[in-house]
């Protein structure tokens, strides 16, 4: 009997051990669908997720690199769009596929917000405002898609990706239908968005931004009068909404934290940085050189052509030959103008070029935007080397090294480098990661609006009004170069063609490094002007030759997408 008792006890204790493990498990670091979409706070969080997509490299994270596809920039690797400017990209190129997918990610997140706002507990007015905000962002993503790919498949909030992700097989909408869709969204957001947000919400889409984007969409379709109406809304503020946009006094500070919340910003990607706050964009990483914080790659550089576009302060066009005789004709002269000699240990400059002072002097005579946008040879850049400030001189010589106080171009190209958007020193601790530059990146700013409006005026025969707007931009206090039509022959701009040339040039020098030029050249039908264009360094070395053909007006629809959705048609020239 005792034996059985013992056995019984043993069995009982075994069973006691076996408490049941719970089979319902939930993630610890994520919110699951059951608990989300209850409050206004959560709606806002979802809305932030929509904005978040903008910083992705394939949305707007490398927008400044698009200048490399125009006459303003040169570059290499993906941020410099090397496959595109050499014409070797295909429908399978990663950047093509990823741009498509990432922009749609923005669309899908916008749609998710639109689907779920009705479920959250908040006032109808707030709901409408969220809906307007989501539609603004959706319009922005679709507009960007349209710019790259033409008409695209349209998915609105009726598509629940959670259920339909396998069946999103819409054919491409026509380009007009796509535009209609975008304009409709923008109308809704104009109606719903506030003119301004309270300070803590600074950076969210506003009514003014919606007008601006709508004007731009119309301008891109050459609907100049309609576009002008939208631009005028925020420039003239006819119904006294109190938009309050204006040009910011300091062009230089506009691209530094100091000016990135100025009245000039109509819609900008909000960036921040610092330890634990890596929520910026990789401008420093890709536009900065080895001398920049974190030792960067300058994948994206300014073209020699851009530097030469900057006028003298008096508006006179720049010509090298007037500075250094024979410069334009001879690569040797170019090289001699810039070339310095370093000591054998590469630590000191043994001989500066004779023209050094001439160059420095010449820079001072030029449009101040040149020196604030670009790092010019023999000027100083506020570098960050070996964990410390280091003022680095842009010496043109083989073997320059940042640790010796020189600027080092990562590619060893003799090319102008961007100063705009690039961290100086360590931004007083503001930057902790080269891929997260804490400078807001403007997608639409007031100067752009003025120039777009000028374009509308010019196209509709209002040249005088157009010139007045261009002059506003030229005469921003810190720039203040001679106004058009203010005397000298070189400032004459009266005919439509003359004014258009001025708009082209002004957009180039004002908006350089902001990625507008590629779109501008395409909408103007001027892309093929780049065909076969050689890109040289300022010392006359050829670095590459552009390959541009008719088909480059639109990127190919990703081949992988056509494989999944056979109803998609390819763009002309791509299959």
């Amino acid at each position: 009997m005792k034996r059985y008792k013992e056995i019984l006890v043993s069995v009982a204790s075994l069973l006691l051990l076996s408490g049941c493990y719970d089979l319902d498990r939930y993630p610890y670091d994520q919110v699951s669908s059951g608990t989300f979409w209850k409050t206004e706070g959560q709606a806002k969080q979802a809305m932030m997720g929509v904005y978040n997509v903008m910083k992705s490299d394939n949305a707007f994270g490398t927008t400044y690199g698009l200048d490399c596809l125009s006459d303003l920039g040169i570059g290499y690797d993906d941020p410099g769009y090397v496959n595109v400017y050499l014409g070797t990209y295909t429908a399978r190129t990663g950047q093509v596929v990823n741009r498509w997918q990432t922009l749609y990610d923005g669309v899908v997140r916008s749609n998710t917000v639109l689907q779920n706002i009705p479920n959250a507990e908040m006032s109808d007015a707030t709901k409408a405002q969220f809906a307007g905000e989501a539609k603004f962002m959706r319009a922005l993503y679709y507009f960007t898609l349209m710019n790259f790919f033409g008409g695209v498949p349209l998915y609105d909030e009726s598509v629940v990706v959670d259920k339909d992700f396998n069946n999103m097989m819409e054919p491409r909408a026509t380009i007009d239908a796509t535009r209609e869709f975008i304009l409709k969204d923008l109308d809704a957001s104009i109606a719903a968005l506030p003119v301004k947000w309270d300070n803590s919400n600074y950076g969210r889409a506003t009514k003014g931004a919606a007008y601006a984007l709508k004007g731009k969409v119309l301008l891109y379709n050459k609907q100049y009068a309609e576009a002008a109406t939208n631009f005028e809304e925020i420039v003239k503020d006819p119904s006294a909404q109190g938009y309050g946009y204006s040009l910011y006094a300091s062009y230089e500070d506009l691209f530094k934290p100091a000016g990135d919340q100025s009245n000039e910003m109509i819609f900008a990607i909000q960036n921040s940085g610092g330890v634990g706050l890596d929520y910026g964009m990789p401008m420093t990483f890709y536009m900065g050189s080895r001398s920049s914080f974190g030792s960067c790659w300058n994948n994206v550089m300014a073209s020699t052509g851009l530097a030469d576009m900057y006028e003298y302060k008096d508006g006179k066009p720049f010509n090298w030959n007037e500075v250094v005789p024979g410069f334009n004709e001879s690569a040797d002269v170019k090289d001699k103008t810039f070339r310095a000699t370093l000591s054998s240990d590469k630590k000191t400059v043994v001989a500066y070029p004779e023209a050094k002072e001439t160059l420095l002097n010449m820079y001072k005579q030029r449009d101040p935007r040149m020196n604030t946008s670009l790092i010019l040879p023999y000027t100083i850049y506020k570098g960050w080397v070996s964990n410390a400030r280091k003022d680095c001189e842009f010496v043109v010589a083989v073997g320059t090294n940042e640790s010796n106080g020189f600027i080092r171009n990562n590619k060893q190209w003799d090319s102008y480098l961007w100063r705009k958007f690039v961290a100086e020193y360590n931004m007083d601790g503001g930057i902790n990661n080269r891929a997260h530059t804490p400078i807001n990146f403007p997608l639409i700013r007031y100067a752009d609006i003025l120039l777009m409006l000028a374009e509308c005026y010019n196209e509709t025969g209002k040249q005088t009004e157009a010139v007045a707007l261009i002059n506003q931009v030229r005469q921003r206090p810190s720039v203040n170069i001679a106004a058009l039509n203010s005397g000298p022959a070189w400032l004459e701009a009266r005919s439509k063609e003359q004014v258009f040339e001025r708009i082209k040039k002004e957009r180039a020098v004002e908006l350089a490094g902001e990625g507008h030029r590629f779109n501008d050249l395409r909408r103007w039908g001027l892309l093929l002007s780049l065909s076969g264009k050689n890109e040289y360094g300022f010392t006359g070395k050829r670095y590459f030759t552009r390959v541009v053909t008719e088909r480059d007006y639109l990127w190919p629809i990703p081949a992988t997408e056509i494989e999944k959705n056979s109803s998609l048609t390819q763009n002309p020239g791509w299959d």
Binding site: I7, P27, Q45, Q101
Partner: protein, 1063 residues
């Protein structure tokens, strides 16, 4: 240790039945009248227990009559005994009613009653090991002859005695039919291999379930030397009891247990000289390299980067100052030869009541790359005790502490970025300085990719501690019934302390630092924990009815929970570079971490029926519930049935049995298994795939963080098991006194509802797509294992081979639609991941070729929309001389993606094989193991193997030697082009490579010292050996190693010298 117990019981049964079977034979041989004499003696013993001892003599021989020297002759139940002399003779004083026990290694033990006889001639029968071999199966063990399922037992001593096997997974290569082993990474401490049992049954994680002493575990957490047995359960019948995770087969590992008797101590140690097998050659002459890069740039109409004078300078200095003008071969410069050591000591023994096995192991592998060494101490204690006749308790404790050098963390970077180096770099100067680019025209960026600098740019201490404890108890309240309960706990704790090391990179030509090694100091502490709880209760009942019907019933339940969590913190600005913890730094800090879990509950049962040892039947059932699925989809049921017919036991086989047939058995099985590996090969992923979840996607407002949340993973609420049904027919046989034995199996494995990542249109955004249950894959194949062993005098030899033929096919997917990931295609009617590529018509080389290209343009079809002639080469560009012209497969006049076609059978070999030959003569033993696969054709093209040039990147000599250049008419590869030009690097059959190979995995030669020398030192056995591991590879593959995918840590070549000692 219920398995051991079960095992033991069966062994006892086997032993008893063997005696019953064999005793009469032995007796008959010894003395024809013995049977009667024995019977009468029984009576004598009963009536007269105290009889005087009498002297007996005898001789012991083998079946051929040769004298056996050193055979044990013992009076049963006493310590009274002797051994036979040089002539095989013995003499002994015994009680007349005693029983003699005669034993000798390699022969079946015989028991002979003395019964007043005084002289014996004893012929020992060779131990037909195969016949009585006991195989560990799920929740128990079985005599091999009684198996109804398809199970392969791997001979562990063959694996561990003299091969430098530091983990079992890689050691399994070539050892068992149907088991395919592929090295995925060979770096020390993480030399994991992926194991496929009977092909890739699923598109997901196809790794088999590994059960160690009853609990799921990591196959490489066990010290190979501690393994007693390893079985691979291949068909549904043998694996079904593991249900939802057994679809890819099960590997059962049982660790060693002590045996009753004298204490035994074993030592096995070796020293291994390691290096890599190099099968890839890069252009290492820098002058040539520069010319080739220039050629590529020129071909692409790009400015050439290298001046002729630089090239000339390098050429003049060839063989001169290697520091200033290096010609570095990146493989030679990155890898080194190293010496690893391994020591294992074990001790085992036991008494009537308690048995134990303890072992200690030490391994030190400095690795063939810098700062990537691995050191491991492991310990094991297995103890079991018969507390009461009806109660057995036991415990298995094991653990290890491993130290990894932190450079290991950067090894993948070495391979990822190693291609972005050039022969113009010195990786490390003799004085220890690291090099960047010496040539200022070369890409300075590549200097940062110096592999040796990469490896050494991190310091710190990575420690991994694994502790596993298992307790079990077995109750046997009545005969034939037992109840076993066990509880296991496993904890893996990884503590990683790391700090960046800032390395100066030099230009040795002008002796300046190109990159100053400074940065902000920081320390990172990361802790990773894995915890596993497992418990089960198993009841068993066995009995024999009517003397013929064997009944064996088992039922049980188990549950398991698993958690994985990590926490990492980094703090900037170390007070002193020597400090290694968070408080040693004073700057800003960041932290991150998370946790995942899963849990399972299972019920299972099995019935075994046997009739007269001829007809065997087994039925299994398992029900599994997993936390990975929502309640509606949670439970899966996995039944199986199998039967076997031991034909050799039939009366009508008597004739054959007496002549050449020893063993013949027919097996059939059918059953269902499951797979819940939702997360693919990462066991910590996919735990919440059935739930829609939102992740942090923050934004900034007003320069402050604004929390954002977005759906980054799409859920599939309908997610459930994928189920695999396996039918298996097999024959086991043994002929000619079991000198020849083998197994032949045909299997048909059908996996339904495969969990697959369907490539959804990209318009769904960047949220990850959940796995979905779709597609059906069938694997069918034949496995043959064949062995021969024999002995001629002192010379014994054996040959064992195994071959698996396999055919893999997706039988249902999406109709005519397919899914494509890179070049790998999933489509009905094709093998999984068959390669879908363009076909190369020719390399355009001659003017005729150019004319042909032009004719394609001239004859191109008209575009209906524009009325203009189409450009047939719009997709990839018009081929110039030296370019590939792709075939217009669909003959539409346009060469584009529609001209792709499938080639080969994907990553699955048509057949794989292993062959082990061994021979022994007196003390000398020799063996060779071949292993190979055939029929894998995969696209291979990465930074190390491409016909494009890029400033600062490596070039492959195979390609540059075979490239087209002006005037070539027989080029193997296209001309060199700038890397941005992808016309020749499109996925095409030119880049498909045959990854078939034969490797001589191991050759070894051993010598066992004669016993006569050893006896005076009280040493039982001393064997010294040398072996060559992975030394010879035969393959056409042009990459690093046909066993690994693309370019990564290749398999090691090892030359080993070792020692086995037994006391």
């Amino acid at each position: 240790m219920m398995k051991e117990f079960y095992n033991f019981n069966l062994r006892k049964k086997a032993f008893v039945s063997a005696i019953v079977l064999l005793a009469p034979i032995g007796i008959a041989q010894a003395n024809p009248t013995m049977a009667e004499a024995g019977a009468s003696n029984e009576r004598v013993f009963n009536s007269s227990p105290q009889q005087a001892k009498s002297a007996i003599t005898g001789s012991v021989t083998d079946p051929s009559g040769e004298a056996i020297i050193g055979a044990n002759v013992v009076e049963k139940g006493t310590t009274n005994g002797t051994i036979t002399d040089l002539d095989g003779k013995f003499s002994l004083n015994v009680s007349p009613n005693a029983t003699l026990v005669i034993s000798y290694i390699g022969f079946t033990e015989q028991q002979i009653p003395v019964s007043n006889q005084s002289s014996f001639t004893i012929k020992l029968k060779e131990d037909s090991k195969n016949l009585e071999e006991v195989v560990v199966v799920a929740y128990g063990s079985q005599k091999k002859v009684n198996l109804t399922g398809s199970v392969t037992a791997v001979n562990m001593s063959e694996l561990t005695d003299s091969r430098p096997i530091t983990n079992i997974s890689s050691g399994l290569a070539g050892m068992a039919a149907g088991v395919q082993v592929t090295s995925s990474s060979n770096r020390p401490g993480n030399d994991n291999s992926s194991i496929l049992v009977r092909g890739q049954g699923t598109l997901n994680n196809s790794a088999p379930l590994v059960i160690i002493d009853g609990t799921e575990g990591n196959i490489n957490s066990v010290n190979p030397q501690d393994i007693e047995s390893l079985s691979v359960l291949k068909d549904a019948a043998s694996a079904a009891i593991y249900g939802s995770r057994a679809a890819n087969g099960v590997i059962l590992i049982t660790t060693k247990q002590g045996k009753k008797g004298a204490l035994k101590m074993d030592y096995n140690g070796y020293v291994s000289f390691e290096s890599i097998g190099k099968t890839m050659e890069s252009v290492s002459n820098y002058a040539n390299y520069m010319e080739l890069v220039n050629e590529g740039y020129k071909n692409s109409n790009q400015p050439i980067p290298f001046k002729q004078e630089t090239i000339d300078l390098w050429r003049t200095n060839e063989g001169g100052d290697q520091l200033a003008y290096p010609n570095t071969d990146w493989i030679d410069a990155t890898f080194r030869t190293s010496v690893s050591t391994n020591h294992n000591v074990s001790m085992s023994g036991g008494s009537d009541k308690i048995r134990f096995y303890t072992a200690f192991g030490y391994m030190d592998d400095p690795g063939v790359m810098d700062n990537s060494g691995y050191e491991k101490f492991n310990l094991r204690a297995n103890i079991e005790a018969d507390v009461k006749p009806w109660l057995k308790l036991g415990t298995n404790l094991s653990g290890y502490v491993a130290r990894t050098e932190p450079g290991t963390d950067n090894i993948s970077n070495v391979f990822t970025y190693g291609s972005a180096t050039t022969p113009g770099m010195v990786f490390r100067a003799p004085d220890g300085r690291y090099g960047a680019m010496n040539n200022l025209e070369d890409d300075p960026q590549s200097g940062n990719n110096n592999p040796l600098a990469t490896l050494n740019s991190i310091s710190g201490d990575f420690r991994k501690r694994n502790t596993k404890a298992r307790m079990f108890g077995t109750l046997t309240p009545v005969k034939g019934f037992s109840l076993t309960g066990s509880y296991s706990y496993e904890m893996v704790d990884e503590q990683q302390e790391s700090k960046p090391v800032f390395i100066d990179l030099w230009n040795f030509q002008n002796n300046t630092i190109t990159k100053v090694g400074t940065g902000r100091t920081s320390v990172t502490n990361k802790n990773i924990k894995q915890e596993r709880n497992f418990m089960d209760v198993v009841a068993r009942y066995e009995n024999k009815f009517m003397d013929k019907l064997d009944l064996n019933v088992m039922g049980g339940a188990s549950q398991e929970q698993y958690g994985w969590q990590w926490f990492s913190a980094t703090k900037l600005d170390l007070v002193d570079p020597g400090l290694g913890v968070i408080n040693g730094a004073v700057g800003d800090a960041t932290a991150s971490g998370t946790r995942v879990e899963w849990a399972m509950r299972s019920y299972f049962g099995r019935v075994n029926l046997g009739w007269d040892d001829k007809y065997l039947l087994e039925m299994n059932m398992r029900a599994d519930g997993s936390s990975r699925f929502l309640p509606d989809q949670r439970w899966g049921y996995f039944p199986s049935v199998s039967a076997a017919w031991r034909i050799d036991q039939e009366g009508f086989m008597e004739n054959l049995k007496s002549s050449w047939l020893d063993n013949l058995k027919l097996r059939v099985s059918y059953g269902s298994l499951g797979n819940n590996a939702v997360g693919g090969s990462d066991q910590n992923a996919g735990n919440y795939s059935a739930l829609s979840t939102y992740s942090v996607t923050n934004y900034i407002l007003n320069n402050a963080l604004a929390m954002g949340v977005s759906q980054t993973a799409i859920a599939n609420a309908a997610l459930t098991w994928e189920s695999t049904k396996i039918a298996d027919i097999g024959v086991d046989f043994g002929f000619l006194n079991n000198r020849m034995s083998g197994t032949l199996d045909y299997f048909h494995k059908k996996t339904d509802g495969i969990l697959i990542d369907l490539p959804a249109p990209a318009v769904h955004g960047n949220a990850s797509i959940p796995k979905q249950n779709s597609a059906v894959v069938v694997n069918q194949g034949v496995e043959l294992t064949l062995g021969w062993r024999d002995q001629i005098g002192d010379f014994s030899y054996s040959v064992n081979g195994n071959v698996t033929w396999l055919k893999n096919e997706v039988t249902r997917f999406k109709g005519d639609d397919y899914s494509l990931s890179g070049a790998s295609m999933i489509k009905e009617g094709l093998p999984i991941n068959a390669q879908y590529v363009l076909t190369v018509d020719r390399i355009v080389q001659t003017d005729d070729d150019v004319a042909y290209v032009q004719s394609l343009i001239d004859n191109a079809p008209i575009d209906e929309l524009t009325g203009k002639q189409k450009n047939p080469f719009a997709s990839y560009g018009k081929p110039e001389k030296g370019d590939l012209l792709y075939k217009d497969i669909n003959a539409d006049g346009i060469i584009n993606d529609n001209d792709r076609t499938t080639i080969g059978r994907g990553p699955n070999p048509d057949f794989s094989y292993g062959l082990n030959m061994s021979a022994a003569y007196k003390g000398i033993d020799f063996s060779v193991l071949f292993q190979g696969v055939s029929g894998i054709k995969m696209l291979y093209s990465d930074g190390y193997f491409t016909p494009t040039v890029r400033l600062g990147y490596q070039l492959n000599k195979e390609i540059t030697d075979g490239r087209w250049r002006e005037g070539s008419t027989d080029a193997k590869y296209p001309r060199l082009l700038h890397y941005s030009n992808t016309r020749n690097t499109q996925a095409s059959d030119l880049w498909i490579q045959d990854k078939s190979y034969i490797k001589i995995k191991n050759i070894q030669l051993g010598y066992t010292l004669p016993k006569s020398w050893l006896s005076r030192f009280d040493v039982e056995r001393v064997r010294i050996y040398g072996s060559l591991e992975n030394f010879f590879t035969f393959t056409d593959y042009k990459g690093m190693d046909p066993e690994v995918t693309n370019t990564t840590y290749p398999t090691m070549r090892q030359a080993v010298i070792g020692l086995n000692l037994s006391f």
